[in-house]
């Protein structure tokens, strides 16, 4: 049972929470992703946060994590700022649209579709 359902405060468990951050940060810097895919399930499993709490908390942690990673790539000259501006602008328009659709779709079907999409993209990368 999650902390929210039991009405209690979720435990802090500093060593596990720090380790979750370390693992997510490594993946984030190495692969250029936010790390939420690692943080969200670990906060659910170790800390007992609900899926929604983990998702929201993960976003807050990703802000400094991605900032540090981006700064390291910036030092190397590995950022295209024009491209980043366009992607961010598009993404900020798309996010509320996705949230609107989310409220109207089946979770299992979404997962299946996303899983298949990701598999197709990974095959492209591995075979390219």
């Amino acid at each position: 049972m999650s902390a929210e359902e039991s009405g209690g405060e979720p435990r802090l468990a500093p060593p596990l929470t720090l380790a979750t951050g370390l693992a997510a940060g490594l993946a984030s810097g190495l692969l250029g992703v936010g790390g939420g895919i690692i943080i969200v399930p670990l906060l659910v499993a170790f800390i007992g946060l609900t899926q929604h709490q983990s998702h929201a908390t993960s976003l807050a942690a990703i802000v400094p994590i991605a900032t540090v990673g981006a700064a390291r790539f910036a030092l190397d000259g590995s950022i295209d700022y024009g491209l980043a501006g366009l992607l961010a602008a598009g993404s900020l328009v798309g996010a509320p649209l996705g949230a609107f659709l989310l409220a109207r779709s089946s979770e299992g079907l979404l997962k299946l579709l996303f899983g298949l999409l990701v598999l197709a993209v990974s095959a492209q990368l591995l075979l390219s």
Binding site: L12, P14, L18, G21, A23, A24, G25, L26, G29, L30, L31, G32, V33, G34, G35, G36, L43, Q53, H55, T57, L59, A60, I62, V63, P64, I65, A66, T67, V68, G69, R72, F73, A74, D76, S78, D80, G82, L83, A88, A89, G90, S91, G94, A95, P96, G98, A99, G108, K111, L112, L113, F114, G115, L117, V118, V121, A123, Q124, L125, L126
Partner: protein, 127 residues
């Protein structure tokens, strides 16, 4: 960038935004392959650019969640402390790896996520 590329990138950004809030993932998983496969950028440039895009996107996400009190700032702080060290180290390792090899590493990571998510989807549909 040509006007055509600008429109393509904006459209890709919208799609990334829709898919990431729809599937509850960050945009990086999709943005990095888009830049590498469609725009022919190097893996290093794609990763650096993706991380920069994630910062404002995540800030907007946090603001959207402030009203429902889902953000546990105590946990976020601890994750961030571990995460900052990991992020610097991870980025440093990435920049030492040859970009073509790094694309394959990314591909393996993505394949693992694809397998897990597909499995969860099938399980959830059967339930």
């Amino acid at each position: 960038m040509t006007a055509q590329t600008v429109l393509l990138v904006l459209a890709a950004g919208v799609l990334v935004g829709v898919l990431s809030s729809l599937f509850g993932v960050g945009g990086g998983l999709l943005m990095v392959p888009f830049m590498v496969l469609v725009l022919n950028e190097t893996q290093h440039l794609a990763e650096g650019t993706s991380l920069l895009v994630i910062v404002p996107t995540a800030i907007v996400g946090v603001i959207a969640h402030l009203r429902n009190h889902f953000v546990s700032f105590r946990h976020a702080l601890l994750v961030a402390i571990g995460g900052i060290g990991g992020a610097y180290l991870g980025a440093d390792i990435a920049l030492r790896i040859d970009p073509v090899t790094l694309t394959k590493v990314f591909g393996v990571f993505l394949a693992a996520i694809g397998i897990r998510t597909t499995y969860e989807g099938v399980k959830s549909l059967r339930a």
